[in-house]
């Protein structure tokens, strides 16, 4: 093997140990390996024969990736994935390092990678994915992507680099119209909602950024997965006349169901005849909500739900999913790069569903801006405390004998999770998965 690659692996592993000792820092070792050897990724994945799958889109990447990996593993596949939600190229390298032998090559059947839209393309420049699952396009961190049209263009370019099969969301016109741009010979599969629940689409998509559709997805075939709920918790993924289901997830809400539909459609494409509906149902039922996506922590016998929010579509879905059961609520908003520095998006979310119970605490760097936003929807706010630890402690103490819910942006969630781990014995970040 080339000496340079060995050095990259060893240097990266050394940096990983260093980062672990200091606590956290999941992207640093990746940066070291990428700097030492730009061909690292291509070589590391060169022996992965069963498929290199990229999962991307604005919302649901982490949940969907986790579900897809569970489905493939339940069918006996050895799968590499990047489970820490570190969805930049460097994060992929970081999570790869402990899996690499001295050869510098991954020894698995498949790789399923969650990548954000820009990094998915950067990754594809190094390694052409065999498959891509494109979930949706919504406003997210416009300070980084600048425009939604630009984000949609990134996904189109990624699909253009994909060599074998692409799975598209038939209900999202930004994603669906990519089908018309694909190379000949690339298989297209679709996922979406069944006609029976078409009226619930606004719960999943931001309609106000979509214009008169110039593209309509073709009628669903027996290879396309459609979500058809049975009741509030159970649903089928219907392929032609064959349902996979009923499935009951550990995560609540329509968004998790459509993620499961996307994952099942993709797994079926990857596994072909080996796909088994009963195995899929069992595998999906066992998937724990990823880190901060409806995760529940027990404190003094009472549940505290952690809900990550990062853009208008995601926050709207989260409010729709959780506020049917109003509980004591805290909202923590930071404006670091990973959160999106522009808090304008809070004004594109309707908070009136929180009016009945009010919000107990707002926190984070933009705690006062969040409180101001709630004032304009006539939602009462009891306390504003920018300091996350102080707010969390006070919130938990004030509502110790009842269920609680915490909506937070990414870096606020990281900080709050560290506090929860220290105070209440929660598994630390990155240890899960």
């Amino acid at each position: 093997m080339p000496l340079r690659n060995t050095i990259a692996v060893v240097a990266g592993k050394a940096a990983r140990v260093g980062a672990r000792v200091r606590g956290g820092g999941s992207a640093l070792p990746g940066l070291v390996a990428e700097t030492v050897d730009p061909g690292f990724l291509a070589r590391a994945l060169s022996e992965v024969r069963g498929g290199i799958v990229v999962v991307t889109g604005t919302n649901g990447k982490t949940t969907t990736t986790k579900m897809l990996v569970a489905l493939l593993r339940a069918h006996g596949k050895r799968v590499f994935t990047n489970p820490t939600g570190s969805n930049f190229t460097r994060g992929v390298i970081s999570s790869m390092l402990p899996e690499l032998g001295r050869s510098g090559r991954l020894d698995t059947d498949m790789a399923v990678l969650e990548l954000d839209e820009a990094h998915a393309l950067r990754f594809a420049a190094a390694v052409a994915p065999t498959h891509a699952l494109l979930l949706n396009v919504a406003r997210d961190q416009l300070d980084r992507f600048a425009e939604i049209d630009h984000t949609a263009a990134l996904l189109e370019q990624l699909a253009g680099c994909t060599t074998s099969g692409v799975v598209l969301n038939r209900d999202d016109s930004f994603v669906a119209r990519i089908a018309a741009t694909l190379r000949l010979g690339v298989t297209v599969r679709w996922f979406g909602v069944h006609a029976a629940i078409a009226d619930r689409l606004p719960e999943l998509l931001e309609q106000d950024v979509r214009f008169g559709d110039d593209f309509t997805a073709p009628p669903a075939t027996a290879d396309d997965g459609l979500l058809r709920p049975v009741d509030d918790r159970a649903f089928d993924v219907v392929f032609g006349d064959d349902p996979v289901g009923p499935v009951t997830l550990r995560q609540r809400g329509l968004a998790a169901m459509i993620n499961a539909t996307a994952a099942t459609t993709t797994a079926r494409l990857l596994l072909g005849g080996a796909f088994d509906p009963a195995t899929a149902v069992t595998a999906l039922a066992a998937v724990n909500p990823p880190f901060g996506r409806g995760e529940t922590v027990m404190i003094d016998g009472q549940p505290l739900e952690l809900v990550l929010v990062k853009n208008p579509a995601g926050f709207t879905v989260a409010l729709g999913t959780y506020t049917s059961t109003p509980v004591a609520t805290m909202i923590a908003i930071n404006d670091n790069d990973a959160d999106g520095r522009d808090v304008s998006w809070l004004y594109d979310v309707d908070f009136s569903s929180l009016r009945a119970r009010g919000v107990a605490w707002t926190s984070g760097v933009r705690a006062w801006d969040m409180a101001l936003r709630l004032e304009y929807d006539d939602v009462a706010v009891e306390q504003v405390e920018p300091d996350l630890t102080r707010a969390l402690d006070a919130f938990v103490a004030a509502y110790h004998d009842e269920p609680k819910r915490l909506f937070c942006t990414y870096t606020a969630m990281m900080a709050l999770r560290r506090t929860l781990a220290a105070r209440h014995g929660l598994a630390g970040f990155g240890e899960e998965g």
Binding site: D143, E147, D208, V209, F211, R341, S344, L372, Y376
Partner: protein, 247 residues
């Protein structure tokens, strides 16, 4: 409502220009803020969403416009030509307007693309915008006649004021019109154009009330009769942001 509710001081018609095409950065928040504050000041808001091709309402007291993507701007151009004379007339007549980002550029003399193509604007504000490879993105603080104003800018156009054109404010933090001359936005009569998202009005209630005040006078023919509103949350949010950015 109990019958003790005071009678409305008057109805104020607010037109939101192209809410579908030109409100990508929380611009709906400005309309929401204005409607709520009009009500809290004892007036009745009448919010009209103006979509391309729709009739222009008869009696307009305040016009708001936001930022959009290039594809959004392309979708509104024909309608803007259609209503251009009415907007120019209303502007000259003192109707308050606030145009942000994309609509600010459209209210100027022209937008000149990177390739040198000159796309004419309404010419209500004496400014010209040049397309730019570089995006100007980040939190902003301006000193204005309505006090210190905070926002968040995200634009690639570089706007220059013609000699004699008044700016909306002076940049204390961020880029403003072009990142060079420290001017932020423009004001002509009661028409304000600038690059502050955020959205700007909830965070800066003095500016919001100035616009509502001009609109109320126009709607009722009487001086603005504001109520005392509690803006402590907005003041705290804004003060903290100013302290973070300029110390």
């Amino acid at each position: 409502m109990p019958d003790t509710a005071p009678a409305s001081k008057g109805t104020i018609t607010v037109v939101h220009l192209y809410p579908r095409e030109m409100s990508i950065y929380g611009d709906l928040g400005n309309t929401r803020c204005v409607a709520v504050r009009i009500r809290r000041h004892g007036y009745t808001p009448n919010v009209v969403q103006h979509h391309p091709g729709a009739d222009w309402p008869a009696d307009v007291h305040l016009v708001l416009g936001g930022g959009g993507q290039d594809s959004g701007q392309a979708r509104v151009e024909a309608d803007l030509v259609e209503i251009a004379d009415r907007l120019r007339g209303l502007a000259a007549d003192g109707v308050p307007m606030m145009m942000i980002c994309g609509t600010y550029q459209l209210f100027g003399n022209a937008f000149v693309t990177v390739e040198g193509t000159r796309l004419p604007g309404l010419g209500i504000l004496d400014v010209t915008t040049h397309g730019n490879a570089k995006r100007m993105i980040g939190p902003t603080v301006l000193d204005t006649e309505f006090g210190t104003v905070v926002g968040y800018e995200n634009h690639s156009g570089s706007t220059t004021l013609s000699p004699g054109q008044k700016p909306f404010g002076v940049v204390r933090h961020g880029y403003g019109n072009n990142g060079d001359d420290r001017t932020g936005g423009a004001r002509t009569h009661n028409v304000f154009g600038h690059y502050l998202h955020g959205p700007v009005l909830p965070a800066n209630p003095r500016f919001a009330d100035a616009l509502i005040g001009y609109a109320a006078e126009r709607a009722t023919g009487r001086p603005f009769e504001p109520e005392e509103l509690d803006d402590r949350t907005a003041d705290e949010a804004r003060t903290r942001q100013v302290r973070r950015l300029v110390g």
